[in-house]
């Protein structure tokens, strides 16, 4: 299992979703991706994108105007 981090700070939605989508394409099932954002819209958009595409959100946290989502790549 591979763990990666994606810096999506300063990007506004849907760019964090697009960057997540593009990164996930290169990951394998079971890999984890931590996405760090500053647009609060990701709190809805990335989980929605995960639900649509069969990925699992493991953790969502926020603080100091940053929003961090950890997801596990699905099949």
């Amino acid at each position: 299992m591979n763990k990666e981090t994606l810096n999506a700070r300063r990007l506004l939605c849907p760019l964090p979703v697009i960057r997540t989508q593009d990164r996930v394409k290169h990951l394998n099932t079971g890999d984890q991706l931590e996405v760090i954002c500053t647009d609060p819209g990701v709190m809805q958009d990335i989980p929605a994108w995960c639900r649509i595409n069969g990925h699992k959100v493991l953790e969502i946290k926020s603080g100091n105007h940053e929003y961090i989502i950890i997801l596990e790549v699905g099949v």
């Binding site: 300063r10 849907p14 979703v17 697009i18 989508q21 647009d39 819209g41 929605a48 595409n53």
Partner: protein
């Protein structure tokens, strides 16, 4: 949403494509502005939301770079503002055509309705989009297909033309009725409201940007910044972008390495960026304008911190301009 639903009801596997041009209204301003976060309207991406409601996959495609040539030199011209709607639609259907070829899909559907706004949906323009996009008879418009020539999916029997629709005109009533029949109670705003280029004020800022740069090219950051703050151009060679509230200030903070920034240190006040080259005299004028938007607007003198792109700081003492001294024509 309805077009997809109509075709899905016929047992066709549908996936969504959403193109991001950089001018999509979705999310941006209310993501930036603190005040907008408190609004009851859900802060959601409608394309994702629709895909989830339909239970289909959605592919969001970044077309920022390719879209520049559409906006800079639209073959069919602009609409009421800087919206190149017809060229935009041709471009997107063309991209969808490329996508279906690469991903082994059979045809494209859109939610277009003859006679509906925007103007790119007139009956005479429908064949232009099909032809110039290269999609030709692979482009099916389920909402108004009965008023258009047969397409390949209908000829081949992949969809039943009798179960498609023949809606025309500006009224949204038929769509609202159809949504009710499908049990859909919530839907996104009508077309046109989802693109900044249809907005008069945004378009004016874009034209100002191009004039000041001396060419029509742009970067994503340029068009993002047009969505934020007050834009004031006291002189041809520079413009100020002044945050209107805390969220915008935080967003502009991210650009302090690319622009000279100004911030009032003696009173509470907004962060401002200077876009352009400035002399010492210009800088004083800029600081006086920024001072007008802070709590020290009625003070005889305020301190304005000037931060250069390399982070070095200096202080200017200025007299805030009065309201009437900020000329109307300065506002972009």
């Amino acid at each position: 949403m309805l077009a997809a639903k109509i075709v899905m009801e016929q047992g066709v596997h549908v996936e969504g494509i959403n193109f991001f041009t950089g001018f999509c209204v979705e999310g941006h301003t209310h993501a930036i502005r603190e005040n907008d976060k408190a609004k009851p309207k859900p802060n959601r991406n409608n394309a994702l939301w629709v895909a989830e409601q339909l239970g289909i996959k959605l592919h969001i495609v970044d077309v920022i770079e390719e879209y520049k040539k559409v906006l800079i030199n639209p073959k069919h011209g602009y609409g009421a503002h800087m919206n190149p709607c017809l060229d935009c639609k041709i471009f997107m259907v063309n991209k969808a055509k490329q996508w279906i070829v690469e991903n082994d899909f059979d045809f494209i559907i859109t939610g277009e309705v003859i006679g509906q706004r925007p103007m790119s949906q007139t009956k005479s323009k429908m064949p232009i989009v099909s032809k110039q996009s290269g999609a030709d008879d692979l482009l099916l418009r389920p909402m108004c297909a009965k008023n258009l020539p047969l397409t390949l999916p209908e000829i081949e029997g992949w969809v039943d033309r009798e179960k498609l629709h023949g809606i025309t005109g500006r009224s949204r009533k038929p769509q609202i009725t159809m949504a009710k029949e499908f049990g859909i109670e919530d839907y996104s705003q009508p077309a046109g409201g989802c693109c900044f280029l249809t907005d008069k004020y945004y378009s004016a800022k874009l034209v100002d940007l191009w004039k000041s740069h001396g060419h029509k090219d742009y970067e994503l950051d340029d068009v993002m910044l047009l969505k934020v703050g007050r834009h004031i151009r006291p002189k041809k060679n520079f413009k100020l972008i002044i945050a209107r509230e805390e969220g915008e200030g935080r967003f502009l903070e991210g650009y302090k390495k690319e622009f000279i920034s100004l911030h009032c240190s003696s009173h509470t006040g907004p962060l401002a960026l200077i876009d352009g080259s400035v002399s010492a005299e210009d800088l004083y004028l800029a600081a006086s304008v920024v001072a007008r938007y802070g709590q020290g607007r009625n003070a005889g003198q305020v301190d304005i911190n000037v931060t250069d792109k390399d982070g070095s700081e200096r202080k200017l003492q200025v007299k805030p301009l009065k309201n009437e001294e900020i000329l109307k024509e300065w506002y972009v």
